[in-house]
Amino acid sequence: MAPKSKASSKAAPIPESKAEPPPETVGERSTQRFYKTNTLQKRCEEVGLAALTPAEKKTYSHAQLIIPVSQDRVPLSIKAEREYWKQVSKENLPIRRLRRNYDWGQDRQGRQLDTYKLADFGERSLKQARLAALDILHRRFLAKRDKARKEGSELPAEEVEEEKKTRAAMAVLRKELYGKITGPLAQDPAWDDVVPIPQAEPEDALARIAYPDDYAEAVSYLRAVMATEELSERCLRLTQLVINMNPAHYTVWLYRFKIVKALELPILDEIEWLNRVALQNLKNYQIWHHRQLLLDYYLPSISSDTVAVKKLAKSETEFISRILEEDTKNYHVWSYRQYLVGKLELWTPAELGAAQNMIEDDVRNNSAWSHRFFVVFSNPKETTPGSLPTATDPKVPVATIDRELAYAKEKIALAPQNQSSWNYLRGVLVKSGRDFATLAEFTEQFVSGLGEESEDVKSSHALDLLAEIYKAKGDKEKAKLCLERLAAKWDPVREGYWKYQIAELEK
């Protein structure tokens, strides 16, 4: 290479560019820094390569030429490399320079970080630093706890509390910075040993639910502890968490019952807790099955203690009555009440009174009528075991039958078109085995002038029963008339049924 004069070999002085305003965003700062470290780049872009002075041209092109080697894209022999560096330092060529379009990445909302204002970016970096610092504290806690456990001890509660705070702060930062959710369970050191099992389903699963984060986390931990069949205090708390979020989750209830048994928890406390859940979830039925399981399990332990049993019966019936005040026909609550009567042998005037009160409040409450029927006709002292509700039971005392018939009649008089009381009357009569004709006089008072101009019917149910009464008496014509009038006038939506009954008469 021909020796060059010192003067010409030095790079031409870079013309001062106009003073640029200070950068506002990360991206602007990067661009400015790029130009600062890439000599002549800006000028070349502004005026074009051809318009540069010869010295500038030389400097610019040399600066470009050294790039492949400086970026290790072209390997050189040792000798050539020595020569290369000699030239670079001789001409003071820019070796360390920034590349254009550095990718700063994006934040959790998908915003490019290079659009951040410098101050905001600074704040973000500070958060990242804070998170890193917290992570050190967190790791120190884990290490300390490991050590303590190896020595057979646990860390003091204050340190665990401190760790919870650390994790809470980390969770906030992670969410802000990266949109990562750390749920409350992952933040709780008590759950560190459990690896949650997340929902396993394909991306395109049918009716896929976008579970809220806290719920998704809780059921992930639930799957994990159920898989190992862990029955512990913390699992009990977990079930409560899941139940609060989704009381319809039947699995968590069955699991909770297993825990209650395994930990030998006081059943009355569990019932107390259940009361609160029930009041908040009137339509839920898992609650009532859980309650039934609790009672089945608990009763044998107090069966010899009549005072305790009585106390339980009182608190249970009081609570049921309270719930039924809110929701008078709740199927599952009434079913539980029937279970309770059987279980605690509440074939009592008080229980009959409870149903009666509900009927007094609303004579059309069929659930209350059904309960009354159950209390009267399933009482083992007065009925034949296994007698079906639709069958005659000769064991039922006459006085009971008379009382129930009178009760139904009294209520029918209040509202003759109320089917609940008629169904009850009929049910009692079947139980008694008495002739349907015995009800003729009572029933006829709701029907007058049948088939005549003056016809008046106070109750289609009376007419229905009369048809049956006349049929039993062998008076087909009268029975038919009742049915015809039901079809034509008094209950025409059931015309098809009444016509079928007429056809049955002819058979």
Binding site: P202, A207, P212, T251
Partner: protein
Amino acid sequence: MAAIPALFTSPPSIRDALTTHTSDSQDETVKVCQPFLSGQEPGTRNAYGIPHLSRDRHIKFLQTQLGELPGAFKAMDPGRPWIFYWCLAALTLLGEDVVSYRERLIRTVRPMQNEGGGFAGGFGQDSHLATTYAIVLSLALVGGDDAFEVVDRKSMWRWLGSLKQPNGGFQMAVGGEEDVRGAYCAAVIISLLNIPLDLPTDSAAYSAGHTDLLSGLGEWISRCQTYEGGVSAKPGTEAHGAYAFCALGCLSILDSPHRAVPRYLDVPRLISWISSRQNAPEGGFSGRTNKLVDGCYCHWVGGCWPLIQASLGGLQEGPKAEDVNNDAAAEEAGDHSLFSREGMIRYILCCCQDTSKRGGLRDKPSAYSDAYHTCYVLSGLSSVQHKWTLNVARTDPSVERTDKWSVSPFKEGGQQVFDEEDRIRTTHPVFVIPQQKAEDMLSYFSAKTGF
């Protein structure tokens, strides 16, 4: 335009003076339904004053329900298989081909099957009879060997054995409640999957002397019939429409309905009770005495009628081809239905359709549509538009699991208040999926020897 019969526009002719909470809510319901029934609501109506079925909107609604659902649906987390069944069954009723859902359904339900047998409401939950029932029916609806093969029948058999109770009934889940739903769901599963009836020897029911998965089940159901004539969830509770259907469905699986139903239930009382469920002027059914109409009972109660008719009528010749096509002959035969088909159709098409963009069917005009009501209102609509006839009863119930049914459009009695374009597809009265789909699954598993 033919006038709307007064029966469906005016209050019943008998009314008690005494008002109670029950009568107030009944009055309120009639008030809500009245404008829909009497044609005061906007929208086109046919010659009988009845709106058309908004097929496209309902289809769109169902497709949406099968897609991604918002977090508010988390309460359905343990019952998601129901959504599959409701939507696939309803889409099928509307004439949509659901075979395209096969692969997705298979992928979705696989993680819900437990090693110990049965399907849960979701991954990591306990197996449950209701969700297993819903998944088995969904698999039948999409059809195909791949779908059928998802089910592990051997573990299913074992699991069913663990649910069978000494009293003959079934628990819904191990440690769960025992009710008539369990009896019906188990019977459907056992029947469609051709599960061997021998009871696993480790079953509690086996220790109690049962040797058969279905033994004692009919007796247990008979204990559920109440003094009102209806059927309750379990012995001693209140008669309820949904349980009446489950009881009839279950009994029709145990043996042909004309034998099994009278064997275990007091049929006249049952009919009287079911018949009482139909309300006027609403036309729809209630689930219990003195309760309100709800569209879903068009299936739970309305769906009882074909089974009741079969129980009463015994075997009948299938409709002859010429009869089906000869409207005049059919009309002459007269409408021997035990209930008001017109009332039911009016309630469904006037009151249960969400005619807004949302689509779907609902409980009553004051409620939002949902997949559950869409499925069961449409099942009811299909049932009321058709006539099912029991043609050939099984000869030996211990060997054969099903009977032969035939179906034809219901055309008797002359007047048809809905337009032909609003007639939807048929669904089997016991399995509540199309007959062909049930038969495909049955024959697939019947061809298997052992598991």
